[in-house]
């Protein structure tokens, strides 16, 4: 299939794997963080780690929209959904995220009107069909999904729809990366930059990582060869002692981002002074709220929201996993008390969550392709 198969070519992967292995200095460890959950998903789904030498470790970052939603916000959403006359709409990913009293799915089984949508525009359709009900869209995600929420608000305003509102949980990636860089218990050598976020914000916002923290960043696409190539580019930078922002995903990511999308966000939303991230705590200027001009579409102004901070379950180590301090399987409850059927933490819910990805795709003894390649090369060298 065009636009897919060429990015999953195993011959090219073998060639790149050999180049990465050749660049790695003996005795040196390379810890690279893929910031985006979409990358985590690709890495596991295609078995990409089989191509990496043992000295290259991928650390799964905080860029999974569902994973960073704190429990208190889920409870707030549940509270909104249970108000009389409200229809809550949500992306499917969010449906199984546990709050302190169960998930959207559980609430739905108890009769709360929660509907799954594929796009915020579907919520508008529901609002038009139910003029006597208030339709609240559970908005989540990074700069990738914020423009579609913003566009939907603008369209609702243009149509004069009075029964549509947004429970805004949009977050921004840069403050989270900065929080991770400043975290004392973490050692990273470089970043695989988020591709889809960068289509909106461009590559420049990452420059401080290369300049101030001396860590290379390569913005990467979502096919397995994209990621393998970006790992090669990172290891190359490290071997040459460079730290720069490079764009592997130039077929989609313009250096300056998408101005129209940014303007749309700016028109409808503004930065919150601070926002709680699951496992990472409060991070200042790290999330968006609906602008006062659009208060009529802000579920937080239309309804009383409890806004109670709920501590994560004690056993849950999502925070350490999100920061990349722990590998998913190193969490105390991983795979036993916390599994995709009975998730305790958010990382186990979304297919982009590091724990769910590892549990569903990576839970097995591994054979590294790269060792085989090296062994084959050595064997060929021996026979020739």
């Amino acid at each position: 299939m065009r636009f897919v198969d060429e990015f999953r070519d195993s011959d090219k992967a073998h060639a790149l794997a050999a180049k990465i292995a050749a660049l790695c200095e003996p005795g040196r460890e390379y810890k690279l963080m893929e910031v985006c959950g979409g990358h985590t998903h690709t890495i596991y789904k295609h078995g990409l780690e089989d191509y990496l030498p043992e000295s290259v470790t991928l650390v799964h970052g905080p860029g999974c929209p569902v994973c960073v939603i704190p429990m208190g916000r889920v409870d707030d959403a549940m509270h909104l959904a249970s108000r009389p006359g409200v229809i809550m709409t949500s992306f499917g990913d969010m449906m199984r995220v546990p709050g302190s009293n169960g998930s959207f799915f559980d609430a739905k089984a108890h009769g709360t009107d929660i509907r799954m949508v594929y796009s915020p525009l579907d919520s508008l359709k529901i609002a038009r069909q139910n003029p006597d009900r208030q339709v609240v869209f559970m908005a989540i995600g990074f700069e990738t999904t914020a423009p579609s929420t913003a566009m939907t608000m603008l369209r609702a305003a243009a149509e004069g729809l009075r029964n549509f509102s947004v429970f805004c949980n949009h977050v921004t990636i840069i403050p989270a990366i900065k929080a991770i860089l400043d975290s004392p218990d973490l050692r990273l050598d470089g970043f695989i930059g988020p591709g889809h976020v960068s289509t909106v914000i461009g590559c420049r916002p990452y420059e401080f990582i290369a300049r101030d923290y001396g860590k290379p960043v390569v913005v990467a696409g979502f096919e397995p060869l994209d990621i393998l190539q970006s790992i090669y580019m990172l290891v190359l930078q490290l071997s040459q002692g460079r730290s720069e922002v490079e764009n592997q995903y130039s077929r989609v990511v313009p250096p300056g981002g998408n101005l129209v999308a940014l303007e749309t966000i700016g028109e409808t939303m503004e930065l919150r002074p601070y926002f709680e991230w699951r496992g990472l705590g409060f991070i200042s200027h790290s999330a968006l709220k609906v602008r006062d001009e659009y208060a009529a579409m802000d579920a937080e102004s239309l309804f009383e929201v409890p806004g109670v901070r709920v501590a994560d379950p004690k056993a849950c180590q999502c925070g350490e996993v999100l920061k990349g301090v722990l590998k998913p399987w190193e969490c105390k409850v991983f795979g036993t008390a916390c599994s995709p059927e009975t998730p305790i933490g958010t990382c186990m819910v979304s297919p982009e969550g590091a724990c769910a990805a590892y549990y569903n795709y990576g839970r097995m003894g591994r054979h590294r392709v790269v060792d085989v390649t090296i062994a084959e090369t050595a064997a060929q060298a021996g026979t020739s």
Partner: protein, 361 residues
Amino acid sequence: MTSAQDERERQVLDRIDRARRRSPRVREERVTMSHGAGGKATQTLIEAIFLGAFRNPHLEPLEDAADLLVGRSRIALTTDSYVVSPLFFPGGDIGDLAVNGTVNDLSVAGATPLYLSAGFILEEGFPVADLTRVTDSMRDAAAAAGVQVVTGDTKVVERGKADGCYINTAGLGLIERDVLLGAAWARPGDAIIVSGPIGDHGVTIMLARGELDIEADVRSDTAPLNGLAASLLDAVPVTRAMRDATRGGVATILNEIAMASGAGVLASEDDIPVRPEVRGACELLGIDPMYVACEGRLVAVVPGNSADRAVSALRAHPFGEQAAVIGHVTDDQPGIVRLKTSFGGTRVVDLLVGDPLPRIC
């Protein structure tokens, strides 16, 4: 350092394996949509609630049909309910689905399907013209499969208490061959075969709902598998197991094989037939075709040295022209299904917890 880490990781994996073998328990207070999706939640509900209540040696293997000795006859008995939405879709409708689905459950038990029952739950206001369309299609499907609908039941519920029309069919078939079929009989070295391209039915239904604004030329693969299953058993009487890959798709069947046999399964993504239209739709939607339902495909386990004969026999039948070996049963990593990806890596293929596509059949 790395080998110590590998050792710790292995210990964690063993611990998870033990946790997975514990007897299942339904933790939810109420039934959720996940319980009907054919994945882990469904399995838990069946094993904890239904098997808990009805446990007996006929039910326990949880095969598609029960294998019973009545007098001197060995018969297969099965039942299935159909709640598909929409009722009519490219390639079929709820009527032929209700006949073929039950015929197929009998066929993969090694039986010759003979008689069907049909129970209708109709919603007040359901157009009689639609009902006729459904029954016509059932009649034609029954004729094609060589079965008769010999008993039935009708209930009508108030408007809003059902979605148009639900159908339950039960089926009875005769097991004339001396076969011993069951996923538990799979052995390391056995080949796993699928009878044709996967995912057609699920993708068709998804697109027919019109919620996704994607158009593709796909049709449901709904078809009776009795002829195909008989061809396979004629060619390879030592076939170990057959399943029809409905809800949960081929991935779920592979997991059932691994769990029931206590062996591992290694499949190859490159060998699994998927139509380009289906693959394209799945790529766009972020769905893995391995989990998408088929309604006219069987998955068979045969001894490795019979694989070629089995594939030739299936390919000789019109419903099995694209049959292919997709993987093997292995003696390592028991209970786990692994997939060699097209990219060249290896990953686990687990059961899904829930299904993003409810009411597919």
